[in-house]
């Protein structure tokens, strides 16, 4: 997502230190980032997990042993390891594994799309307010502060209520509520970076405002945004579940992971913990994977780590 416009040549990671003549290769920036990312085992495993979950969701009809919506009341709440039902059944006798497989379709979409949609908007707002500052910048940040004052869920409900129910509208609502948070992160980073001398050096060399924003500041404010954005992905699943619970999200029979977890809460303390725990664990693993990928990308974007 970085826009390094000029054809840059970059030192190969092979040449560490600055004592010997360097092996200079003209690897592209993305290729170098990918190399750095591949060395990060946690990130590689996390990418594997998310790719796996995504493929499972995509091919759900082929993989799911049962219909995710169709329950067998006679077997309701049977535990893990029930013959034919590896992960047991929920309160309405539906196969939990099948629901998990289908649930990825909702949950992974809800995790990623709002964040992806909010990021560019937050980037624009945050960089504008942070770089130009002054009265306009201040005004923008004060408006965002007002949005901060609303509880996220309340704001999302209000937006979803205006837009009407449905998964797309819920994602839109969640995306909008995330903009101030992400913009704040970009704003802080932009203010910090703008004060550094390399920005002044660019200005002294006749750079236009647009050049300073795009070439100097953007690459430097991207990494906190990436880290923050990926950490929000996990939260989105839970937030969407909360909205479904309140009646403005995924409509209940649909097997969203968050919905499954909240469905299981009524029997959680009656000895049927698996109904809530299993989807909860899947959410945990997915959220963790998103976070670790975010950390990996941050490190891969960092020239200190690329070359050492």
């Amino acid at each position: 997502m970085t826009s390094t416009t000029l054809g840059q040549k970059v030192v190969s990671p092979v040449a560490a230190g600055d004592t010997v003549a360097a092996h200079i290769t003209s690897r592209s920036r993305p290729a170098l980032m990918w190399r750095a990312l591949r060395r990060d085992k946690a990130a590689v495993v996390s990418i594997g997990i998310l790719v796996f979950l995504t493929l499972v969701a995509v091919f759900a009809p082929l993989l799911a042993p049962y219909d995710p919506l169709d329950g067998d009341a006679s077997q309701r709440l049977e535990g893990i390891g029930t013959p034919g039902h590896l992960l047991g059944l929920d309160g309405q006798g539906r196969d939990i594994l099948s629901r998990l497989i289908y649930g990825g379709r909702y949950s992974l979409t809800v995790a990623v799309l709002p964040v992806l949609a909010a990021a560019p908007i937050a980037l624009l707002i945050g960089m504008f307010a942070g770089y130009f500052g002054g009265r306009a910048g201040n005004a923008v940040m004060r408006v965002l502060d007002v949005l901060f004052a609303f509880p996220v869920v309340l704001l999302a409900i209000a937006i979803a209520a205006v837009l009407g129910p449905g998964l797309a509208n819920v994602m839109l609502a969640i995306g909008i509520t995330m903009v101030p948070y992400m913009a704040r992160v970009v704003y802080t980073a932009t203010v910090q970076e703008s004060a550094k001398e390399y920005v002044e050096a660019a200005r002294a060399a006749g750079a236009t405002q647009a050049q300073i924003l795009r070439q100097q500041l953007m690459p430097n404010v991207m990494s906190p945004l990436v880290v923050y954005g990926t950490s929000l992905c996990g939260l989105m699943i839970v937030l969407a579940a909360g909205l479904s619970f309140l009646g403005v999200g995924v409509t209940p029979p649909a097997p969203d992971w968050g919905v499954m977890t909240s469905d299981g809460r009524s029997v959680l303390l009656e000895g049927y913990g698996h109904v809530a725990t299993i989807p909860g664990l899947v959410i945990l693993v997915a959220a963790l994977a998103f976070n670790l990928i975010g950390d990996g990308i941050r490190d891969a974007l960092d020239p200190h780590k690329q070359t050492s």
Binding site: V10, A22, N138, R142, A202, A204, G206, A207, T307
Partner: protein, 265 residues
């Protein structure tokens, strides 16, 4: 001094910082007041002052990296304070700055060669195909190696980064170089190298330099004339020998007394 014309002119420069609040402006702080001096073509002019005395702000105003609250800056007949943004960008080719090495003078995410090349591209000083060669020439000229162009700022030592800073400042082939505490972050031995490099470059390229520093020995070593700054006001200025041997102002005497360290220059 006679026969040399004025390149940079500061007249009654004043800078007031006001802390912006939600409504209007709050407390005001006068950083610079009534600064008037000329820098003659080809000379090195020293601006001496303790930290917080406003010397950096004056330097930034000369290059219009900071907008003066009032006053006038002239550069070779141009009114720097009233140029249009476009005219200013064009003039910047002739005036450059070397920063105190704080590690942040270069963008951490771009190869240094690309950053040295930026002014050349920006001012369209040579065909795109020659930029690379010119960068390499420049790096070698300031004592670095060609292959270091593809490295990132963090891979260099403080002294090397300062050489890079000088290379970048020279990339646009300026007449005027603003040196903002160019050696204060460096080891003494490296300081001497950088100073010698600057003097050598000044002779070769007929540069006019303004040296901002708190180090009197540096001024004595490098400068023809100097001004002493105290709390945002110029308290004394003149040829370096006069300022040093017959200080007129209390502040200058105090600064002189403070220099007790042996200087290897």
């Amino acid at each position: 001094m006679s026969g040399r014309d004025v390149l940079v002119q500061a007249q009654d420069l004043r800078k007031v910082y006001a802390k912006p609040t939600l409504f209007g402006t709050g407390e005001e702080f006068v950083a610079v007041q009534g600064a008037t001096f000329d820098v003659l073509r080809g000379e090195t002019f020293g601006l001496i002052g303790e930290s917080g005395s406003g010397k950096t702000t004056i330097g930034r105003m000369l290059l219009r990296l900071v907008e003066p609250t009032s006053g006038f800056v002239g550069f070779d007949g141009h009114d720097v304070t009233r140029l249009t943004p476009k005219g200013m960008r064009r003039l910047r080719q002739r005036m450059q700055i070397v920063f105190q090495d704080s590690g942040s003078a270069f963008n951490p995410r771009r190869a240094v060669g690309e950053q040295v090349a930026f002014p050349m591209r920006q001012f369209d000083l040579c065909p795109a195909g020659e930029v690379r060669d010119r960068v390499v020439d420049l790096l070698e000229h300031v004592g670095l190696r060609a292959d270091q162009a593809d490295r990132y700022p963090h891979e260099f030592s403080g002294g090397q980064r300062q050489r890079l800073g000088i290379a970048r400042a020279l990339a646009s082939e300026p007449e005027f170089l603003l040196l903002d505490e160019p050696t204060s972050a460096l080891d003494v031995s490296v300081q001497a190298q950088i100073l010698n490099l600057l003097q050598q470059l000044q002779e070769e390229r007929h540069l006019t330099m303004l040296l901002i520093t708190h180090n009197l020995a540096l001024v004595q070593h490098m400068c023809d004339r100097a001004a002493v700054l105290h709390h945002g006001e110029l308290v004394e200025s003149g040829p370096v020998d006069d300022v040093f041997h017959t200080p007129q102002h209390e502040v200058t005497r105090r600064l002189l007394d403070a220099v007790l360290e042996p200087v290897a220059a």
